[in-house]
Subunit: 253 residues, 2 copies
DNA sequence: GCCAATTTGTACGTATGTATA
DNA sequence: CTATACATACGTACAAATTGG
């Protein structure tokens, strides 16, 4: 079972780091055995014996792969193939945004441009893949937003689900995950962004317009509605960093 | 200097892992001291003393942050703030692609759809930001491609530079980095993709058409040229996995 | 609920490789 | 070339979490 992993030759050409070699071996092991997310990996002790490295090196290699969600470790249970999510992208981009947040929101502005480009560009595909359940689903979320806004409450989770539901019928898992990732980054870097009463109403109306355009099956109208949706977001980002979010301690958690 | 980092209280609410706490402290240290990529971080020994953790925990935390390019370690020199690149996204997506490659190219097909959506969606902005140096730059790369193709050689690096140069004038660093990242993922998962003589010629012509459309300042024509550019790519992906690339050992390196 | 086995997490000491002065 | 500072690797011991009897 572990025969596929061969010990590392000390003098193997490139004098690279031990942990890198080990990480490569583990990736190869997953690929060659065609493992899937959730499948069990050898224990640390077995890996040490298999690749001929110390436990420290094996653990540091595992740490790297864990950060990329290639492997997943459960304390006291074992090591498994990870879900290969985009958590690494979220953490990396979020930290970049937090670093530049004090100066300006350039990173976030760029992110919004990417989000808008993707959503508008996929508008034709969205109307083509339209579905009754999707129509009603989007409508319900928009209704919930209006309700919550009327009560003076926020609707961050509804907003996230709305944009994910919009992308879901495309059947493109990467698009869905990128949408979620970008939304999460935005939420981490500027969580309390549009909370003024006016922009809340503006946002509710924008989502309504998107629902109606999608229901009408008009791609151009949908594209325009999406563009309008991001107008208040862009405006807040240009107003400067004084809107601010929580302190660094909580933001990175 | 290190006073900002406070020791970790054992009983601080969530009974989380040591290394996670340490990683958070390091991130906070970077944020609170407003460090920039390349700035020096305390040595491992100093970090140990500052957060009250052992070398093992500190090193594992650093490993996690290194994978996200939040910190960068130079052997025998020290630890520094990382460049915050998208290497983590590349590694993660590339491995996902390699995992599914044996079965199909679904992941890669999804990636191409995202690339095409972004490039087409930004076509209007590109023609708006057009520049003489950009025009000539794109033209030169296209010429090089044609030359190399005539000699029966490949032009992977030219292809990469072409698409990066196309995005550069937008001034959106995230778009540029995402373009590079997606291209790299594609190159890792399917490096020897379009090498049949016909598709090579097709690709050369496609890039020519993009240059001409951009030079003409016609956004719709540019969008169409980009769409045409991806047609042969999509075709190869649909043809199935038998085109194959290198074995797993080299692919993950 | 308790105990024991397995597995990962943390700590510490030591030696080695690497870069700088 | 020597000395110093630092990261890397190895090994051992123990703590914490999970599972099963």
């Amino acid at each position: 079972m572990l025969a596929v992993i061969e010990p590392i030759s000390r003098q193997s050409g490139g004098a690279r780091l031990r942990q890198h070699e080990v990480a490569e071996r583990i990736k190869q092991y997953i690929l060659q055995n065609r493992l899937r997310p959730g499948d069990a990996l050898p224990t640390e002790a077995e890996l040490c014996a298999a690749v001929g490295a110390s436990r420290s090196s094996v653990r540091e290699a595992i740490k790297t792969l864990t950060a990329l969600d290639i492997v997943e470790v459960r304390h006291g249970h074992g090591t498994y193939v990870g879900r290969l999510s985009l958590t690494a992208l979220v953490e990396s981009l979020a930290f970049r945004g937090l670093l530049s947040r004090a100066d300006d929101f350039r990173v976030l502005a760029e992110l919004v441009e990417v989000r808008q480009t993707i959503e508008q560009g996929l508008a034709p595909s969205i109307v083509a893949a339209l579905d009754d359940s999707l129509r009603t689903g989007l409508g319900e979320i928009a209704d919930q937003m209006a309700e919550l806004a009327a009560r003076g409450e926020t609707f961050v989770e509804q907003d996230r689900r709305f944009h994910l539901l919009l992308m879901e019928p495309l059947g493109n898992e990467l698009v869905t995950q990128l949408t979620a990732a970008f939304w999460d980054v935005h939420a981490i870097v500027a969580p309390t962004m549009h909370t003024t009463p006016e922009s809340v109403q503006e946002t509710v109306q924008a989502h309504r317009a998107i629902v109606e355009a999608a229901a009408a099956g008009d791609a151009d109208r949908l594209s325009a509605a999406i563009a309008a949706h991001y107008v208040p977001v862009r405006r807040h980002l240009q107003e400067g960093p004084e809107v601010s979010g929580p302190d660094a301690e909580e933001a990175t958690a």
